[in-house]
Amino acid sequence: MSSQGGWGQSKDFLDLVKSIGEARSKAEEDRIILRELEALRRRIAEPDVPRRRMKEYITRLVYAEMLGHDASFGYIHAVKMTHDNALPLKRTGYLAVTLFLSEDHDLIILIVNTIQKDLRSDNYLVVCAALTAVCKLITEDTIPAVLPLVVDLLAHRKEAVRKKAVMALHRFYQRSPASVTHLLPNFRKTLCDNDPGVMGATLCPLFDLITADANSYKDLLVSFVRILKQVAERNLPKTYDYHQMPAPFILIKLLKILALLGSGDKQASEHIYNVLGDIIRKCEPSSNIYNAVLYECICCISSIYPNAKLLEAAAEATSKFLKSDSHNLKYMGIDTLGRLIKISPDIAEEHQLAVIDCLEDPDDTLKRKTFELLYKMTKSTNVEVIVDHTIDYMININDNHYKTEIASRCVELAEQFAPTNQWFIQTMNKVFEHGGDLVNVRVAHNLMRLIAQGFSEDEEGADSQLRSSAVDSYICILGDPKLPSLFLQVICWVLGEYGTVDGKYSASYIMGKLCDVTEAHLCDDTVKAYAISAIMKICAFEIAAGRKVEILPECQSLIHELSASHSTDLQQRAYELQALLCLDCRTVESVMPLDASCEVLEVDKNLSFLNDFIQESIEKGSSPYIPESERPGMSSVSNFRRQNEASSHMLRFEAYGLPKPSPAHLIPQVSVSTSTSNLVPVTEASYYRESSQASKVPSVTDASSADLGTKLRLDGVQRKWGWPTYSSSGQSSTSSTNGVSHVDGVSAQSRDTLYDSRRQQSEVSAEKQKLAASLFGASSGKTVKRATSTHRATKGNTGNAERMAVSTAINPETSTEKAAPPPDLLDLSDDAAPTSTPTADPFQHLQVLIGATPVDNTVKAVGLESPNLMAFYTDIPSGSRKTTSTIHSAVPSIKKAPLQNDETARRVCVNPTGNNPNLFRDLLG
């Protein structure tokens, strides 16, 4: 059967959709779609396909594309369809291209002309369709082509067009702010539009603009406040009401804008106080949308200049959120609490038990949010509890993205607030052990730096204690076979620098350990490099101290193996070690001074120490040096590199080419090690730059051994200097300008035993209270009642709501037979007028229906008491059919055919339309 019905779908199409719906597996679905695409590819290429049939083909392509298949062969036909004069075809064309084409697709350029034409159309629906396409397809390059047209449309007589034009301009602003800067006054004009829809749409671009630069829009504050007042006083048309709330979406947008404008501005904030108070007071405290607005109010209150009265209201609302049974509201409560404690830290105390409950909630999202809150309220008094808890939680996370984040949070807190060195080292060990290679490389470098520089300014003793405790713990940990590479690097570095310093471990013992490390991690060249350098350092210290170095046999074989390594970096290091072993005591001491990792290395880039040597050579008759660029007929490396750089720079404008390798990678010896290491990409560049510097210098200069020596010791040291930024802010910032740079660490204020004592508590509730006390620092006497596992009691409305949603009405009589529906009946859904009048509340309709039919009790009760539920599937016909509702959570969606019957039956009896289906059949059949 071919296509029938003017703009409905053919039987083929309905069959396709149905078979996809009934497909039992992804593989089956894929098979169906591939077959379909094959058929379409043939038929779409036939000459003289009728336009209407082409429209359907395009729709089918959209369907295939939506299900994740490639339908690119049909793109051009979709583009052609946008040229069509008939609106239905044009709309289909636009819909298809907006869904098909990515913003950098070549075909877009073919559509621009059509869009230009359509933007000038008399028919506002055509203009609307074009504007929708503009929002998706017009890119930075094509903005100038349509911009004047869109600007003209701001004065269109139809509000729908004005609104879309505003949204299109907003989009242009997002894509290329510069292209529309001269139009910013236009937004101010549309803000005063008569139509609330246009005004509401204007808030979107204004929000972006104000986010970028709040100060230039301060003059609008009064207008915003006035609009807000008007909205809150229900001066907008009734149609903007949503669940008895006046235009909440506009309200929320306005509150967001006011939060930006009033931020840190006392004068501006004073304008806002009144209206905020009004909104909080006036709204009905029952509906969900109210809570959304309330949340936005709290955000606004916490952002603007603080006002005691409003803060009180916000705190009250927060406690209402936290005490709620709904997880959503609890989540929001945790969020607002996090905002409010920034302003008044005492607020948290009141809610400590609620927070602890959230922390132990089975809902992972809520848990994460709570950890975020804890992170915000960490102080030196509660850091141990919080970090320990966070690490315990981190161990069980599967999501790598989140694990990385939480690991870096732990590190940051530990660095900022660590009470003792011991604790710090142990915490870092745990983070590395469990975080694995997800931990940012910078964290490792920071840790090395901290161990090298120490925490305190003048207590050299404390620093050495820190170091030896680090060494102790690392020696213990090394037995673990599954240590992440990054952590091993840190361990190797620390053992090399400080392993033998306090004389507790012998040099050969440490070297043996290091050799074990390389054996256990055969494929990790970075770790090997760290290890061999550490061995080199230990040897150097031994030689410098006048002791004889005995190289263990396994160490000897390691050196031997590495000097034949594929990695030139490793080779280099092995040869350096061999060279070092032959040097005498004094030379070695100046090459590898003890504990000098913090000394500043002055690299003399001019190589001025060679001047004498050069002078001498020139006097002897050598020709003077000519810079590469001045040498004739030489396409020098640097020129080549510069060109390369330039071209890669150019590429960015041409957009979306493959990225060129950065010039640093062109150095051959470096690229070898690139392939072997799996560091985080960002850091790679700098790492290799350093190591290239490190390994290049000795090969170029063959000068005095002292200089050579300092440059040899670059393995750990230089990398540390490569990270001048110290990640944590505030108290623990470092100043590493000279050799003795320091961290003014936080001295442990209270190493109270709260946490330990908490551990010993056997009774659960007492433990919880303790935890709360240690978190919030409240006196234990103050903690009064403890809600016994509040989270388990959340079986309130939400539970019912979900159950309600599951409930489904099926017709048992028809469910057995599976007759194919008359294909044209479904088409009626297209032209049928909506069954209920648009103004009528659908729920009233629903409630009446539910009340009138014999329904399951739960369904009925919930349906009546919570008006915001939709009833998918509970499509109870208003006519003849007898239905029974059953809770059927397990019924898969295969009940389609009978349902479809219901559907069509309903449509037939409910929607008698003027259209005779036969008419269409005559037309195209």
Binding site: L95, C135, T239, N288, A292, Y331, P362, E802, A805, M870
Partner: protein, 171 residues
Amino acid sequence: MALLLDRCNDSYALLLLNCRQGKVRLTKWYSTYSQKERTKAIRELSGVILSRGPELCNFVDWRGRKVVYKRYASIYFCMCIDVDDNELEVVQIIHHFVEILNIYFGSVCELDLIFNFHKVYYILDEILIAGELQESSKRAVSRLIDAQDSLVEMAKEEASLIRSMIAQVTK
């Protein structure tokens, strides 16, 4: 089934409907993703969302963003948003969309969405542009959709009229 939408700072969004078994019913991506990325995202998200119990909150963290979802019968409507968006508002935007669908289709069911997915796209385009809410009045949306539909109908009737006239003439 789920409907997924993503409103990040640049208000790029993706939108998908997938079924209880993880079947996709509708997707809308407001920023550029390759088919591979899309499939991966859908697989990840449906795994996360479908496994969540009914009483947990309607938000999940995902790749540093947040996904807000809401279940209606067997369909999950999901929307991916930025971290600093108002989650409760997004839940209500989803609900707003469903209400409009309900008005348009007359108590809407899964089948309506399956067989009229192109209609759903049109309606969505009237509510959200580039991931930003563009119209919050239900009446304004349905009026516009009706206008488009009736225009389609008019064109169709005209065509049939001409057809029958031609048929009469050639008889």
